[in-house]
Subunit: 345 residues, 2 copies
């Protein structure tokens, strides 16, 4: 076997010198290098922003969706949406393990895993698209993929249904980062709290703030709030438009007696929500941006523009133990497990 | 006087409901609201990315630069470059203070200040452009501007020349955040370390890491490194291309005995430097992005793509005491003061 680079740079075709994620085209030849893992793919969980774009472009037509998806992979060697830049993840079965990884990996041939690195950097071949589940952005295929040595993954648990695990793992970074950031007694606001990542953040925040803390759930529509209210995941529920910073600020001032929040987690998958999060945060507080629709410059110049000394964090999709944290929620809470099964699995 | 909103939303013309910074057009009528401050403007320090774009568009012609700048302000009511989205800052003299601010501000009529909020949200009128100093992005004008109640500023010190103070205050957030992040014994890498913000970061990092720490200075050209080397601001000097993540990773591995860095500060004002910073950081280390050329998605997906558990921070241009921290460097170090006077004042 040929020797590979841990980050997969040996697969980059264009432009030379970059990593697989920013590359325009990577090599998806399925003969593995010595530090790669070959996966027999079962299901792609396409990133929500990406799937929405593809589905819109196809006018909702399933055959056209298939055609667009196959076209992307044929052109780039990976399923990276050229409009949104994003990917998704996959589940499949280990088919072959590179010789250099022997004794270094806990995986063996036949294990079923979910890859936790983005499809936007994963070498992929689609032979056939078997089924498109439009409501949950999942696509069953016949095909193969490569996991690089630095690529992260989770073995699928035997006690959680596969599609549920896949949906939850897709946003695993959010609840795990919440655990790292929330302290007892904190006032925590989650924007976009009724979505797939937002609900998991609420769950962890509610556990950690304790009786002296306060968790505020904000979503666009009253009907979305009802869904969360039924689960008792927050202390306060607010409906409002997260792109309207002044409205959010005034509502949060009201429910915090003018004190604002120690931590604001932004999970809204629409643009222009940076300022709402900043204005709702106390001086010296923290804003955690998990949404991929966040603009770096809008956040940086926005905080300066209103003289807010807040710590702003870029949502890293990975943190140690994030897969376990997310799956554990499904074990702990039957109510959440039922809801996620209904909505996303 | 009419009552104003602390964030200046009363000045927003289009689109309605947003803050002055993201607004396309704001009201630059110079009759002040009760919580505003009127400034007689002397000099604009245009943001470096913005000035480069304007100068390029004008083919370097000073009269055309003037025309473009006046056009921007006429159209938007503020000097926000429509291509880069960025602004800059200004110095001027207080001409009038709104009645609602009496007893609430330490400013008085006649004080000379630098505004520390971006020009991209500051109501501005340019009557005449008196001088364009192309080498340092500074433009002397006859005109007026408005500071909002939430707007931050610094009184110009009497012991530092005005143009030097203006240049240093422009990047004041960077050294102040460095002070907050560096711990004794840390290994710190500054990317783009020979630039205006990078050198100030090096200076603070070198003071704080102590004899057990290590400060690594990286810049594109050997000639840039020489400038910093002469000042003794780092322990290790590396020339390299910050857009080539693998090259940066290998060089940093070498000079840190394979341990990588506790903190990486990215001050490179070109795109595609996110991955260099991520790969050069230890697991559990911190990346501080000060450059406005940073892409949120490239950082977020990039860290996940290589399975790096790093804390990534969006460079907030403001933190408490940042103006004092930056000006103090000019008082402490004659060598830096001389260099900044030569290059930027």
């Amino acid at each position: 076997m040929k020797k590979g680079n841990p980050f997969g740079t040996h697969r980059v075709i264009e432009p030379k010198g970059v990593l697989p994620q920013p590359a325009i085209k990577i090599d998806n030849n399925m003969e593995i290098y010595d530090n790669e893992i070959l996966i027999n793919v079962q299901t792609l969980n396409v990133d929500s922003a990406s799937f929405t774009q593809i589905s819109d472009q196809a006018g909702g037509d399933v055959e056209k969706i298939k055609e667009i998806m196959k076209g992307i992979v044929a052109e780039r060697g990976k399923h990276q949406n050229p409009v949104t830049g994003s990917g998704g993840m996959l589940i499949g079965t280990i088919e072959q393990i590179g010789t250099a990884l022997e004794g270094k990996t806990d995986l063996k041939v036949g294990d079923k895993i979910a890859t936790l690195v983005s499809l936007s950097l994963t070498p992929l071949v689609i032979e056939e698209i078997l089924d498109v589940r439009k409501e949950i952005d999942q696509v069953d295929i016949k095909g193969k993929a490569i996991l690089f040595e630095s690529g992260i993954y989770a073995k699928l648990p035997s006690d959680i249904p596969e599609n549920l695990a896949l949906s939850v793992l897709d946003v695993a970074g959010a609840p795990a980062q919440t655990v790292k950031l929330v302290k007892e007694g904190d006032t925590v606001l989650v924007l976009g709290a009724a979505g797939k990542s937002g609900i998991l953040c609420l769950y962890e925040a509610k556990k950690l703030v304790g009786p002296t803390g306060k968790v505020i759930c904000m979503a666009h529509r009253e009907s979305s709030l009802d869904k969360v209210r039924a689960l008792g995941l927050a202390d306060v529920y607010i409906a409002g438009d997260a792109t309207n910073a002044i409205e959010v600020y005034e509502k949060v001032m009201e429910v915090t007696d003018g004190k604002l929040c120690d931590l604001v987690i932004s999970c809204v998958s629409r643009p222009n929500c940076e300022m709402s999060a900043i204005l709702a945060t106390k001086d010296d507080g923290t804003v955690y941006y998990f949404s991929m629709a966040t603009s770096f410059t809008k956040a940086a110049l926005g905080a300066e523009g209103v003289g807010k000394d807040v710590n702003m964090i870029i949502g890293n999709g990975y943190t140690k133990g994030h897969a376990d944290t997310a799956l554990q929620i499904m074990r702990e809470s039957k109510a959440l497990s039922d809801l996620y099964t209904k909505l996303y699995a």
